[in-house]
């Protein structure tokens, strides 16, 4: 009895010793030197592995940060300025400060504003749908509504609104990694600065057609009338291809363009409601539609 115990203890112990020796030898022999800084940097990074920085994952981005001399054009959109600052302190390098951005959808063409004239049948994917044709509506620039951006979002910051047929971005959760921008075949998602209290003004339309055609396809299309361009006190609005674009860095959020837009295609977010406008707007839209 006791011999069997001794034997098994001896056997296990010797097995353990052999394994330990093998492991030791291998770890010595195949040792690869790695800068310990990389691991430290990686620990600071958000570990989302979203590829928003351009590197395939946080680890490779950390390697890039450590190994590159000038890291001022590298930026982790998820971590933002805080993370980049602490990395800069750790590495003793300079980083650029960027305004935090969020994704916004440049399309207001909900189901009732932009009637569907055709029906797509096939896999539920914007990219595949975009290969077959321009979209179920007459607007060939707007949202296809199949939710590729929602599928691409790793942070649950997007969902499809069933009533409007458009994706909705939850600004608080958006890390501005840019996955949705990549996924969208129509390029209608833009990264815009978050500003204070998430106040944003932007044109919710990408339709480059002439006013009449755009308006026929979608009640809230930008018709290229230039009214906003004329009224803007800061010259923040440019007109190109029958389309207005508001430069977020020049815009002072005065909201003049929002009021003047005849098709209500300019979107303002998180502003306190104007009393008069709140009554007028729904009426006007229902007339248009």
């Amino acid at each position: 009895m006791s011999t069997s115990i001794i034997y098994s203890v001896l056997l296990l112990a010797s097995l353990g010793i052999i394994a330990a020796i093998v492991l030791y030898v291998i770890s010595k022999k195949f040792y690869v030197y790695e800068d310990p800084l990389i691991t430290e940097v990686e620990e600071i990074l958000p570990a989302a592995n979203c590829a928003g920085c351009g590197s395939p994952g946080c680890r490779s981005f950390a390697e890039k940060l450590v190994n590159t001399e000038d890291i001022s054009d590298l930026f982790c959109p998820v971590g933002g300025n805080d993370v980049m600052k602490s990395i800069a302190e750790l590495l003793g390098k300079e980083v650029a400060e960027k305004d935090p951005t969020v994704a916004v959808l440049l399309c207001k063409g909900s189901c009732d504003m932009r009637p569907k004239t055709t029906q797509f049948q096939g896999p539920d994917s914007c990219a595949i749908s975009a290969m077959v044709f321009s979209g179920e509506t007459d607007c060939q620039y707007g949202c296809l509504g199949k939710g590729d951006c929602v599928d691409a979002c790793l942070f649950d910051a997007m969902y499809m609104d069933k009533n409007t047929g458009l994706p909705v971005i939850i600004t608080d959760k958006c890390t501005s990694c840019g996955a949705c921008v990549e996924a969208c075949p129509k390029d209608i998602i833009e990264m815009r600065p978050k500003n204070k209290r998430d106040l944003k003004i932007y044109v919710g339309c990408m339709n480059e057609e002439k006013g009449g055609i755009a308006k026929k396809a979608c009640a809230v299309a930008c018709i290229g009338c230039s009214k906003c361009f004329d009224i803007c006190p800061k010259d923040a609005i440019t007109m190109e291809n029958n389309l207005a674009y508001i430069d977020p860095y020049l815009c002072t959020l005065c909201r003049k363009c929002v009021d003047i837009c005849p098709t209500h295609s300019i979107i303002e977010t998180n502003f306190p409601p104007k009393k008069v406008k709140a009554i007028v707007e729904p009426l006007k839209i229902s007339n248009d539609a």
């Binding site: 004239t117 077959v132 321009s134 060939q140 057609e209």
Partner: protein, 442 residues
């Protein structure tokens, strides 16, 4: 036993309801919408301006590069607009809109010219004519013909294949053309053989067009250089690679072209267009289009000017039937569903197919039951179920290694799948992604 390609293929119901309808010539439409990208390659460059008067056959858009083609005015009239309109790609594309001049007699002259058998031009001039007169492949791919005919000496071309297979169900445009313009086509073949110094030509025709086969056999009776070959009725027999395999037992290598095995393939429609261009100096401004569908009142074949809106043709055959749910530009297997009836006919439109509601709906995709049917029917020896899976999971590199790029998009896999899976949709998507990734090196 008739010749065919060895692996795969399907036999969908033929439904060639218009094969006994002679090709009718339509009066010139009131307005034509001529897209500037009717061919594979670079879009042409517009050389007319608004309000300019154009004559029939005048160049309105010049070739934009090597793989590109001239576009000629199909009518005499006035350019009214240069704007974007929906074409068969489902997107708005730049078009030249020409209003037909009702007083100009050239719009109403018959284009049926007397047969001219004597070849007067030199080989170089022939090729120049083909380039200048905007000839592109009329089988559907619309590849500029002069590129295909640009043969280098070390290619050793020994055979010209004339593709009269028309394996797509419903379509009869090539069939009627082969019956009505057989003599012209034979002259066209001789022109090409002369220009390229080829001593052998084979006309491949599917066995369901017996009258066309007989017709050509009689015409080429005394000619030991031109052969007529009946091939088995099997889709996609009309695909270049499959037809070469069937007729010559040569296999075009992966990522290769027919030229690599010493063959040039041209569609009968293209041959006729070449005849017109070389012998009569007529540019490619019209083509045969089959307008068909099970519910259409008088399905027919027409000589149609490029740029004619589809609605004109549909009105000609008795209007859109009640319950139309899908209009297809091309045949049912490879054609494109179009958004509205204002889409113009282009050089590549071989038919307009109107599908009613009972057949238009796609059936709901179910789980793959791994029956292997898609593998059995794939003429390229691919595994469509695997390619779809890989594309769905974004494993494009693996899909590339499974030869996704050799897919000819014939649609046989989607046709047979008992679970109605969108196999070809995903394969096509994967192909486009891989093309954009530019990771391929031959």
């Amino acid at each position: 036993m008739l010749k065919t390609f060895p692996k795969g293929g399907i036999h969908p119901p033929e439904n060639k309801i218009t094969s006994f309808k002679a090709i009718k010539r339509l009066p010139a439409p009131k307005t034509v919408y001529v897209p500037i990208s009717q061919h594979i390659g670079i879009p042409s460059e517009i050389v007319v301006v608004r309000k300019e008067k154009v004559k029939i056959g005048q160049i309105i858009a010049k070739s934009g590069g090597y793989i590109s083609s001239n576009i000629h005015s199909p009518v005499a009239g006035t350019v009214t607009k240069l704007d974007k309109f929906f074409d068969s790609s489902g997107y708005k594309k730049q078009c030249i809109v020409i209003r037909t001049d009702p007083k100009d007699q050239t719009n109403f002259e018959s284009a049926d010219l007397p047969l001219q058998t004597e070849i007067k031009l030199s080989a170089k001039e022939i090729l120049q004519h083909i380039t200048d007169f905007g000839i592109v492949g009329l089988g559907g791919a619309t590849f500029p013909s002069h590129v295909k005919l640009n043969v280098k000496k070390d290619n050793n071309i020994d055979c010209l294949i004339i593709n009269g297979v028309e394996c797509e169900p419903y379509l009869t445009a090539d069939h009627r053309l082969m019956l009505e313009k057989a003599e012209e086509i034979v002259v066209g073949i001789k022109i090409l053989m002369f220009a390229l110094h080829i001593n052998k030509a084979i006309i491949g025709i599917e066995n369901n067009k017996k009258n066309a086969i007989e017709n050509f056999k009689e015409l080429t009776n005394n000619d030991d250089k031109i052969h007529v070959a009946a091939v088995r009725v099997k889709y996609p027999q009309g695909s270049e690679k499959q037809l070469i395999r069937a007729l010559l037992k040569r296999e075009v290598p992966k990522n290769g072209l027919p030229i690599d095995v010493g063959v040039i393939v041209h569609n009968v429609g293209t041959i006729f267009a070449i005849y017109q261009a070389v012998q009569h100096n007529i540019p490619l401004t019209e083509r045969v289009v089959t307008v068909t569908g099970k519910k259409i009142k008088n399905p027919a074949n027409f000589w149609v000017r490029i740029g004619t809106p589809i609605i004109d043709l549909i009105n000609e055959v008795g209007g859109l039937p009640e319950g139309t749910r899908k209009i297809v530009n091309g045949g049912p297997m490879m054609g494109k569903a179009i958004k509205n009836t204002d889409v113009p006919i282009t050089k590549g439109t071989s038919g307009i197919l109107v599908i009613s509601e009972d057949e238009a709906e796609r059936r709901k995709a179910k789980n793959c039951i791994r029956c292997g049917e898609c593998v059995f029917v794939c003429p390229m020896g691919l595994e469509p179920h695997l390619l779809m899976n890989l594309t769905e999971k974004r494993l494009y590199e693996k899909a590339y290694n499974e030869d996704i790029m050799t897919c000819i998009e014939c649609g046989s896999c989607s046709y047979v799948c008992p679970s109605h899976r969108p196999l070809l949709d995903y394969i096509r998507f994967g192909k486009s992604i891989i093309k954009n990734l530019e990771i391929i090196k031959v």
